[in-house]
Structures are given as structure tokens and as C-alpha cells.
Symmetry: C2
Subunit: 209 residues, 2 copies
């Protein structure tokens, strides 16, 4: 691209370094910003800088927080005996949005993926084991994605944490609510049959929503 | 969405105010920025602020520039007798990328669109008429899009500028290079027949590329 302005070129280069944003989209965004008031652009820029400067990972669970310990970990009404292990803070947000879970979390910051060069040492696994040894929760829920990497990580954690005094569970795989059986893949359908639940408990869960 | 951090929430709000970026994409971008080095995020923020502070519209043609007059207008080797009227600076960039045009530009900053509340007074039309009266170019090329709004604006400018001493032309509409005739719409095909050019001139243009 031939830019008539060095500042425009630099802004487009910077914006297009973001994932999923190419040069054309970056140019469209830059031209949009040019039409905005100066204080609006400054407000965006400040929000980005403060994001990086002022956010910490919670030192207990790895969730993002404005404080040393996140709101969930410091909430006395949450059940400290229950820890749900998730990949990412987006998963924490998704589970929190259900309003059904009252335990704590542990954010791994990724999943084991040799293809991407991510091994157990790059994830918050040591801190999870340390936390389990120290706080002695009664149950760990593996809430990782139903991908090869997610299942591998779950199995790795299962091997590390397997202990008679600790219940290890995984979130249910099955037919999504609202889905037709005929469109489900075989593995999901087979799992949903082998992991069937008593009918009474499935009714009470439905009516709770 | 339930955010565990106010700074994250603010950044997501700011990013999702950009056109075409929703909350989920904004969150993905914010989490990406969190993984970057602080100086990289600052470099992005600075580029955005400088974009707004340091870029001017060229006072002659309306193209974006770091100076009062843009590089194209101040280039003595460009043909001052030729002005191509375009909607947007992206059109200037597109025409410059062809490397075939050596005249000047006039950027309208939009097209007449009553549906969007854009009338002639919001566009750089007065400055175009003033420029034509002052500089007396020999030809104006209408390089607006082949949309209803583009054609309307072209017709409006044609009425305003129509003068015996000034050649008014429009960029050719026709079959795009590489396209099959059978997939062209009727209007384009009809125009490409009525605006046919001598075969010799079409050969010399092809070999010039």
C-alpha cells in the first residue's frame, strides 16, 4: 500500500499486528479513528495502556484481576472445597455467566500442546498442585475443552492429582441443550449414552434454569 | 459478560466501539495485548494518538497528509491539468497502486447519500469548484464508485462543473480484467458494449502493464 502519511502507515502497521486483523481492516479502523474526536481516541489508547499496566494475574487462581487476589478467590461466600480447572479467563467468564457454579477456579493459561511448543511447565500446573496440597479441596472439576489438547491436559492433571482423599471429576460431554440427536457426532452421542444420568436429576436441573 | 477486572472491561468496551468489532473479538484482542510486552502496547497506543493529532487533510485536495499540502499535490512532476475526483483516501491509494495515473486528486470525503443524511454541503465540493475556477485544469476525471450514490454525486458534479473549456470524463465501467462475460451483470455488459474502445488502444494498454 502507498500511504500518503507516515503516521497513517505506522498506525495501520500497529493495528494489523493484532490477530485476525489484516491491512485492509486496519486501514478501515484507522480511518474510522481519524473521524472520531481526539478525546475518544485518547480514551481508547489510555484503556489499552492501563490494561497492560494495571491488570495482574490473581496470585491464587491465575484469573485476571485489578488486585493481588481476584474477586472470586476473595469472596467468602464461594465454596473453597471446589476448584474448577479451566484453560483461559474466557472460560471463567463463560462459567460465571451461567450463575450455577459457586466454587473457585484455577486458570491454567493454556493446554498442553506439543505442536505449539506448550508443555506442562509453561502452564500454571505447579501452582495448582501446590494449592491442592495446601488448601486440601474436596473436589477438582476438570473444565477443559473437548479437544485432543484439552483431554491430554486433563489426563496429565489426573495422573498428577490422583489421590484417595480428592474427588476428580470432569464436566459432562453430551448433546448440547437444543440440539437434535441426528446431527450429533458419534463420539459425543456414545459418550452421552455411557454417561447417562438418572432422569429425576436431569428434570431438576432443567427446572432450575 | 462478567469481567473480573474493571480495566479489562473498559478496554473491551473501547475496542468494541470500533466498527465491525464485537464484544467477543474485543475480548480476544484485549487478552492478546495482555500477553504482549508493555512497550509493544504503548507503541500501539501512541500510534493511535499520533494518528489523530498529527494527520491533516491536505488543504488543496483533501488527501490525508503529515504536512499542509500532501506529497501528491506538492510533487512538481504530476500533471496539474488533470484532477481525479474520488470518494475516499482509500481510492487515492488504490489508483496510486496502479502506477498509471500522473495527475492530481480531489477527495470528496464521501458521496451524496440522502439515506445517510449526507448532502453536497458535507462534502468537499465547494473546494473542488473553487479549485477548478482558480487553477483551470483541462480535465476532471470522475472516479466515484459505480453505486447509485456514486452515480448521483457524479451527475451533481457534472451539472456544477459543466463548462465548455473543461473536459469532464468518468472512469470506464466494464468487464473486469480476468472476468468471464457470462458472469457479468446485464448493465455492466451493456455499458461495456456501448463504451467500446478501438482495438488498437486496448492492445497498447494491455502491453503497458
Amino acid at each position: 500500500m502507498n500511504f500518503s502519511s507516515k503516521h497513517l502507515e505506522r498506525a495501520v502497521d500497529e493495528i494489523s499486528s493484532l490477530p485476525g486483523i489484516g491491512k485492509k481492516t486496519a486501514l478501515r479502523l484507522a480511518l474510522h479513528l481519524l473521524k472520531q474526536e481526539e478525546h475518544e481516541v485518547e480514551s481508547l489508547a489510555t484503556a489499552l495502556v492501563r490494561l497492560k499496566q494495571d491488570i495482574n494475574a490473581c496470585k491464587r487462581c491465575g484469573n485476571l484481576s485489578d488486585h493481588e487476589v481476584c474477586e472470586i478467590c476473595s469472596n467468602p461466600s464461594r465454596d473453597e472445597g471446589l476448584i474448577c480447572v479451566v484453560e483461559d479467563i474466557r472460560d471463567v467468564m463463560a462459567i460465571e455467566n451461567t450463575g450455577q457454579y459457586k466454587g473457585l477456579y484455577h486458570v491454567l493459561g493454556g493446554v498442553i500442546s506439543p505442536m505449539d511448543g506448550v508443555g506442562p511447565s509453561q502452564l500454571n500446573i505447579d501452582s495448582l498442585i501446590h494449592r491442592v496440597n495446601e488448601k486440601k479441596p474436596r473436589e477438582i472439576i476438570f473444565g477443559l475443552g473437548a479437544t485432543v489438547e484439552g483431554e491430554t491436559t486433563t489426563f496429565y492433571l489426573y495422573k498428577k492429582l490422583n489421590d484417595a482423599s480428592l474427588t476428580l471429576s470432569a464436566i459432562a460431554r453430551g448433546i448440547a441443550v437444543g440440539d437434535q440427536l441426528e446431527y450429533a457426532d458419534e463420539v459425543t452421542l456414545a459418550r452421552s449414552i455411557s454417561n447417562r444420568v438418572p432422569y429425576e436429576s436431569s428434570i431438576s436441573q432443567n427446572s432450575a434454569h
